[in-house]
């Protein structure tokens, strides 16, 4: 960043000055590297190593055969990309594609519902009314409950003689295979995480200056126009971050379907559950392969999201930053000229 910005404003100067300046940059670069190295080492240990270890693991298989006495043959066996080929086209490929579909389906549906509900919640909470603090605090409760616990709570709600069936007056077996199981997961997930989106959006709303609305009102803009033309565009950067967080979260969804509906229910099985299942059956190679595929999927989705929707957010921010810097520079130059 520094070099990019420094380049255009570098004034025509003598060679000595330039050399010293270059040396400065190098020196501070080295210092920066030294100062940052603990961070990089920790990151390499905590993020880099597990990813590489998982990648390596995904190329091996172990303990799959029995010897004559019935003991498991020990030792790692390098199998190349076999684990990956099995995932995409082996006998369990349909399970993988099913889980990929479930993961994607949950991501799209829950994120859309949670965004809409979250915005509504934020708009309501943004109004000044008595007891607003209480509402804000209580909205946080679902978010504060651990997912496994809330999944248990929802399992009681959705059991055969539970509250859900009493309310709709029908006997739906929510936890059996089928679309109703998906629906149960979506409802429980929305209950839990719409407040999260709501709170983030609320923070964004509070940053919008009031005079913008006053001006709009003077111009005779309707409430809908105010929302569509002012609120939404101004809250968009925050909203996109909230959506990105939610997407990354849902793509890894595990505990909610696992506890609420149960393990090995194909209609709600997600990629994380598949990886868990393989690992608990001691097939670490396959499990690592599933995890890697999930990792890549999450990375691609996040990248695409940032590219498609977030690109101009970052662009705007950069532009704004550049604009601010330019005006600062201008002011500085002006002052210099005045003083000299």
């Amino acid at each position: 960043m520094t070099t990019v910005i420094a380049a255009p404003e570098q004034p025509p100067s003598t060679g000595v000055k330039a050399a010293r300046r270059k040396g400065d940059v190098q020196g501070s670069g080295r210092l920066a590297a030294i100062l940052l190295s603990p961070t990089f080492i920790v990151l390499a240990l905590v993020v880099g190593y597990p990813i590489l270890a998982a990648l390596r693991e995904s190329l091996f298989q172990r303990g799959q055969g029995l010897d004559a006495e019935g003991f498991v043959v020990e030792g790692d066996q390098f199998v190349g990309l076999d684990n990956y080929l099995d995932i995409f086209s082996g006998s369990n490929a349909s399970v993988f594609w099913g889980s990929l579909w479930n993961t994607t389906f949950f991501t799209v549906t829950t994120v859309v519902i949670e965004t809409v509900l979250g915005i509504c919640m934020a708009l309501i909470m943004h109004w000044a009314f008595r007891g607003r603090a209480l509402v804000r605090a209580s909205v946080l409760v679902p978010w504060a409950i651990p997912t496994a616990v809330s999944a248990l709570l929802w399992r009681w709600v959705f059991q055969a003689d539970g509250v859900a069936n009493a309310l709709i007056g029908q006997q739906v077996l929510w936890t059996t295979e089928g679309f109703q199981a998906k629906l149960a997961v979506i409802i429980a997930d929305t209950w839990k995480t719409a407040p999260f989106v709501g709170l983030l959006v609320l923070a964004g709303l509070q940053m919008i200056p009031r005079d913008v609305y006053e001006a709009a009102r003077v111009d005779g803009a309707s409430a809908w126009h105010q929302f569509w033309r002012i609120t939404l565009p101004l809250v968009k950067p925050v909203l996109l971050v909230a959506i990105l967080f939610r997407m990354l979260d849902v793509l890894r969804m595990f505990d909610l379907p696992f506890v609420l509906i149960g393990a090995q229910k194909e209609s709600v099985q997600t990629l994380s559950m598949l990886a868990y299942d393989e690992a608990s059956n001691l097939r670490y190679g396959v499990a690592a392969a599933y995890s890697t595929v999930l990792f890549l999927y999450v990375a691609i989705v996040a990248y695409a999201f940032v590219k498609l929707l977030g690109a101009d957010v970052i662009g705007e921010m950069r532009q704004a930053a550049r604009g601010r810097r330019r005006s600062a520079r201008l002011r500085l130059r002006f002052r210099k000229e005045v003083s000299s």
Binding site: Y49, P50, G70, L271, A279
Partner: protein, 430 residues
């Protein structure tokens, strides 16, 4: 070598900390166990402090027994390590301990279905069968501690399904006693199972309970899930009769629809609310139901079958010694201590967990406290173990998958059993 367990633990911790669901990667990757593989046949030597590893000691009685042992053996003290209540979580921790080749765990309290996996992976040591008086144990329980005919774990606590029935309704139907066959059961239900009262329930949710209930039905019909060589035998007329009993039950309403979501507790609640005439359940429910609304209106009987009493599935826990532990001689003595009549008797009095020694089932005091003991003994003697499978997780999954499909009607019973046979066949080939 010394660093290996540590690096592995570190790797697991590190991996668990990341957001990338990469936890799957732990489990170690070093194939350096040339010398350790002999551990499986090593002598049981060494004396000193050991640990006993099991799920939560909810009654506190195990700690009491450990304390009594420690008072007598000041140099060979036992420390109780409690794992989570969930069986899966217990297994996971024991597997991790074994893969790190750690000596932290000595005596392992294994669920009966884990024996084969732990033995085949050389995680537990073979035990000297001649040092235990095997004739004193309930014969079906011994098999649950064996792998390929060798003793790897000593039966400690056992369990078998019983038929809980409503005495008042059975009487109202004009029957002289609890049903002995499936047909008798249906006849009773035809008369009294109406107005929101269902007939028969069990554990039919897609989990281990379904495997138990399925194999129970198959064994009761005279079939078997695997034969003596460990080869699957589910594509037989007997197995079909067993699965048909359950699948037809759901179709005809003899088993209420919501029973497909029942685990143990859901079934118990339904029975205690008076919504079931019959329930297949473990003995633990007896004491609980004695405090419920149906306390004076129920009793237990052996499970029925198609032509007479059925064959329940064995549950329970066995004691084994970790192959990587120190002080195995002490561990062996401690197992002998826990499985001695006095200790098993005291344990049942405190916890209601059924003992594995035959003589205790004729003990007057126990019988008075647990009136179902005669029925339980009769059931246990007819009980069958679940298959001895090294990859039990895959094995039970294949059973659940297909049995569930048959019960929910997405597959015919013929199709489900054919598929199950094929999948189980693949698993036992290797």
């Amino acid at each position: 070598m010394v660093a290996t367990p540590l690096t592995k633990t570190l790797r697991c911790v590190v991996a668990a900390g990341t957001v990338l669901a990469m936890t799957a990667a732990c489990g170690g990757g070093d194939s350096d166990s040339g010398s350790d593989s002999k551990g499986a046949s090593a002598e049981l030597t060494g004396r000193g402090p050991i640990t006993l590893v099991q799920g939560k000691d909810t009654s506190g009685n195990v700690q009491k027994q450990v304390d009594a042992w420690n008072a007598q053996h000041p140099n060979e003290k036992v420390r109780l390590i409690e794992l989570p209540e969930e069986a899966d979580a217990q297994r996971q921790q024991m597997v991790q301990n074994a893969q790190a080749k750690s000596d932290a765990y000595t005596v392992l309290n294994l669920d009966v279905v884990w024996t084969a996996e732990f033995a085949a992976n050389r995680w537990i040591t073979p035990l000297p069968q001649e040092q235990f008086d095997m004739s004193k144990f309930l014969q079906p329980t011994i098999k649950t501690g064996q792998y390929r005919g060798r003793l790897f774990a000593v039966p400690w606590k056992t369990d078998a399904g019983l038929l809980y029935y409503r005495t008042d309704l059975v009487k109202k139907a004009g029957a002289s006693g609890p049903p002995k066959t499936w047909d008798e059961m249906k006849q009773i239900c035809d008369k009294v199972a109406k107005d929101g009262v269902g007939c028969y329930g069990g554990q039919f949710e897609k989990y281990e309970g379904l495997t138990v209930n399925f194999s129970e039905a198959v064994h009761s019909a005279g079939g078997s899930v695997v034969d003596d060589q460990g080869k699957p035998q589910v594509n037989t007329p007997q197995a079909k009769q067993g699965l048909d009993f359950l699948a037809e039950g759901f179709k005809s309403g003899f088993i209420p629809k919501e029973a497909i979501t029942y685990k143990e507790e859901e079934g118990r609640r339904a029975f205690e609310k008076g919504k079931l005439v019959f329930l297949r359940q473990w003995p633990y429910q007896y004491a609980l139901s004695k405090k419920s609304d149906v306390k004076d209106k129920f009793d237990v009987a052996p499970l029925p079958g198609p032509n007479g009493p059925g064959a329940p599935t064995l549950g329970g826990h066995n004691l084994a010694i970790s192959a990587f532990a120190k002080n195995k001689a002490t561990a062996l003595d401690f197992i002998k201590y826990l499985t001695a009549p006095e200790q098993e008797r005291a344990n049942m009095l405190a916890t209601s967990e059924a003992p594995t020694l035959t003589e205790l089932y004729d003990d007057a005091e126990l019988k008075e406290k647990y009136p179902y003991l005669d029925v339980l003994k009769e059931s246990l003697l007819k009980a069958k173990a679940r298959p001895e499978a090294v990859r039990y997780g895959d094995f039970t999954k294949a059973i659940q998958e297909n049995a569930y499909a048959a019960l929910t009607g997405t597959k015919s019973t013929d199709q489900a059993l054919a598929d199950m046979q094929a999948e189980l066949g693949k698993l036992t080939q290797q």
